[in-house]
């Protein structure tokens, strides 16, 4: 059975603005990564580890699936 590769998208940019216009640097510090990593995540150029994904969701006090979504390659769920 072929594995559907897909990619991970996220709501980080929107959530930052919903959280008192939190800056990328502030989120980076809270999540323990560099600002460049937050920039890459927002541009969907980097898929985070499960640990980082949970840390970012924790910063926003949201469940993981409210922050990160898996988009299958063909567009189907």
């Amino acid at each position: 059975m072929a594995v559907n590769k897909g990619h991970i998208t996220n709501q980080i940019r929107r959530l930052r603005f919903d959280h008192n216009e939190m800056t990328q640097a502030e989120l980076a510090k809270a999540a323990g990564v560099t600002r460049q990593t937050i920039m890459s995540l927002e541009a969907n150029k980097y898929s985070p580890s499960l640990e980082l994904a949970f840390r970012i969701a924790g910063v926003f006090n949201q469940p993981l699936e409210a922050v990160f979504q898996f988009q299958p390659a063909g567009g189907e769920e």
Partner: protein
């Protein structure tokens, strides 16, 4: 050169390492070309060049990385993305290193079997030539590693 403004400290350090490696290699091999006996046998001139280049490389690295740290502040600790990019770069560099060494050994084997090439005839492959060929292999692998890291930082992974 607009994109250089968006480079992080880590990207500047990778770029500086790449530029320094290539500059030192060009300097070394251009000086090597002026040695009368070439790489036929060890000589005082060759030893002098190696010492000279080592000193230039150490001073160059100190100045270049000192300048980057002075202009841009200390480098942030590496996070998971930096480590992932470093690991992928090392993996690519290792693959390239194995590839070029196999090419070099293949060339030696074919030459020994009588399939001589004009580029590097078997009779001219002295131990010093072999050492420099391996040095060139390391340089190619290091260039591939740093270039791939820069591409991954810029284009995403």
């Amino acid at each position: 050169m607009e994109f250089l403004r968006h480079f992080s400290n880590r990207e500047w350090n990778v770029l500086a390492t790449l530029a320094l490696d290539l500059a030192i290699a060009v300097l070394y091999f251009s000086k090597l070309a002026s040695v009368p006996d070439g790489l036929a046998a060890p000589s005082a001139a060759l030893a002098g060049i190696i010492i000279q280049i080592t000193i230039v490389a150490v001073i160059g690295a100190a100045l270049l990385f000192g300048l980057i740290n002075w202009r841009r502040g200390d480098q942030e600790p590496a996070d998971e993305r930096d480590k992932f990019i470093a690991a992928r770069g090392n993996s690519i560099g290792y693959g390239v290193l194995i590839g070029v060494i196999i090419l070099f050994i293949g060339h030696l084997v074919l030459s020994a079997l009588g399939f001589e090439s004009e580029l590097l005839p078997y009779s001219q492959v002295t131990p010093l030539v072999s050492a420099h060929a391996l040095l060139l292999c390391l340089l190619i692998a290091s260039t591939a590693k740093h270039l791939s890291q820069l591409v991954m930082y810029r284009r995403g992974i």
